[in-house]
Amino acid sequence: MPAKREITFETELFGSKTFLIYVEPVFSKAGETIGINYMGMDITDQVRKRERMIKIREEIAVQKAKETELNRTIHITEETMRAKQMLATMSHEIRSPLSGVVSMAEILATTKLDREQRQLLNVMLSSGDLVLQLINDILDLSKVESGVMKLEATKFRPREVVKHVLQTAAASLQKILTLEGNVADDVPIEVIGDVLRIRQILTNLISNAIKFTHEGKVGVKLYVVPEPPFAKEGSQHGSDGSTANQTTTNVPKEETCTSTSQTSSDQRGFHGKKHEGSCQNRSQSEPGTPVMNGKIDVTEEQAELPETTVWIRCDVYDTGIGIPENALPTLFKKYMQVSADHARKYGGTGLGLAICKQLVELMGGRLTVSSRVHCGSTFTFILPYKVSLSCDHSDDSDDPDDLSDMDDHGDSDDDATNGFFQFQPRTLGSLFSSNGSSRTQKLLAHNIGHVNSHKINGFSENYCSFPTSNGQAKEMDLVEDACSVAEALEISSEPECSFSHSPDHDSESAICRGRRHHNDVNAENKVSSIDVSTYSETSREVDVKVKISEPQLPAERQGRSDSGSQSTLNTGQEVSNSISKPKILLVEDNKINVLVTQSMMKQLGHTIDVVNNGVQAVRAVQCHSYDLVLMDVCMPVMDGLQATRLIRSFEETGNWDAAAKAGIERPSPSSDSLQPDCTPPKHIPIIAMTANALSESAEECFANGMDSFVSKPVTFQKLKECLEQYLP
């Protein structure tokens, strides 16, 4: 039997060497074994290669496996992202035309309608609103989930928020329920947080409570608790965190609070929600650090601290139908309702609680629930809030040194410290007449609530109920602020008017706007300017200063009132009526632009000729001598660039051959005021009016012979500068 074997030797000189030994028996013709043949081969290199090959193959296999896994993960991630993106996009896509429908319906509502039409329209509006709400919910949820949601940090007053949410709920309450709110005294007057989201959460919980409660009451309870165990910081700071409020009377209260809240939170957690894990501290502009700083500083209470953190717990309780134990775990899951029957009977999308939970957790808190069937439910969320210490002193009503801080709070003291509200059924109903759209109702609700709160100074609450579209929110916000501004405002009607000629002194037609002066020329030249800063809580950080000013009467105007005296402008105009009035050509095809530009030029004291395309422009230049041409670039028939080229070629060559080639007949020699052989044609300043499109770039304008350009839309200032520069 032949045999092969690999034998490895360790040699001193050459290291490890492997030989293949092959031995085979030799048979005689008769079949007897008579000997062996043996062969030896040095296969060291081959062996090495072989081993390397094996290693490589192994590596390749591992790589391939990794790749497959990664690809799979990428694929899944992509799918997920795409799905989320699509959801968001679709929602956006749906939202646009939907808000179009709602907007149109709103416009319709302002037209004349009979009763039946108005009723139909109201249904349209409320349905549209509901759908918009839903879409906003979906978008919100996907935003929170994909981590895009940014939290704001603004100062607000918890009592006000609670009151307003309850008021709004009361306004649309159809059942006989008592709504109550109770804010504990140790809750600071002002805290810092994302008031929009918090209001969203409160509104959601309250509307849920109302929905599932048919008799009895729904209420909100707000109170300070010590730092809960699920907070990231160690327990050593736990008790200190609660003393963020500087009132000494709180300390004993908090001790008791500690024990009760902990036990009650245990009770509340009976359905299995654990307060475990690290919670994300509310992300502000600098994520992560603020709360930590607050915690560390708290141990040195007496020092001047910019901010500390207070944990406030909010219970939303009701005497409703309750939630069965087996439904509790899935309560906060998306799209889940307690049962299919529930969904059918009570409606809703099941998104609300999921959003609330996400938001609360995003802000660094916890949302829990406890309930008894047929008795009622209580939804509880605990959130950390920052408190700015300077505001906190308003708690110390017996500290006279801090009264200077209280100037702002003077008027609204009752509101600020009042922590108990109750809305009995039916009392508010009489205040709201059922007219038209729910919008007016909401507005009324807010107006009533604002009777005694002045919000002008440093207070940034956004008075809109959730959910309204951002546009609406701004509208109402502005209206509120403006109302309070207007109260303090004296509006009079003599604005600045530095450029007006005065043709008719006597014809003070009633239609004229704002340029009236009063009968007594020595009118009170009051300048009343109110600065209203509206703090927008959306990402559109628009800071608007509104000034309504009434400046001095210019001397000329005084002259006007005694009929007939010449104003300087008048004389100026007379002068310009003489021969040296510059001739200006406007080349523009858009009727509105023509009207606007013409009026502006008129105010500057010039009358202008108008043509509508390049061909007409060339013809006009052929027939008349102009001192300035304003040339629109994009026009039909012939555009401004070509027209300018033709005009320039005339100026350079002295003839209109190029124009003729382009199809514009040469004018008859008699009307051509410029002699081609005598003086070279004057260079006409040509100013391009561009809409800033790429095809109308500045270089192109200059390359085609234009002297300068003005970007549209044309403003008074631009025209004025242009004229000053190019007219002699």
């Binding site: 309504i548 509105i592 008129k602």
Partner: protein
Amino acid sequence: MEVGQMQRRLVDYTKSLFMEGFLDAQFLQLQQLQDESNPDFVVEVVSLFFDDSEKLLNDLTMALDQPNVDFKKVDAHVHQLKGSSSSIGAQRVKNACIAFRSFCEEQNIDATLRCLQQVKQEYYLVKNKLETMLRLEQQIVAAGGSIPMIELGF
């Protein structure tokens, strides 16, 4: 309603139009052009804008309704609308036109139809707003009051 109240309403309403982006600073230019020699200027320009825009929108609707859409023509119409809305300060209409034009360049039928809807929507909105505002002004003047001038600093 007494004049002061009406004036306040007008101020609020006008401010809101600026805040919500319906109008931009160009509209202020128009207001400044109105004086004794030109007492109805704003109404004139705005009415002209309405007429012109409705015609353009009709043309656009027809052009996009064709089996073979001539995007150059569509673009020309939108360019006109963009120009006029820009000149009177109808900011949202102008922005909708800008988006419209980019889709015209791509010759994207679906997107351009959507844009047309958007432009129409914005146009009707601003039309309604302007009409309301001008009506308020008329009422004030009819009651013997005068129109307050508003300065908005952005």
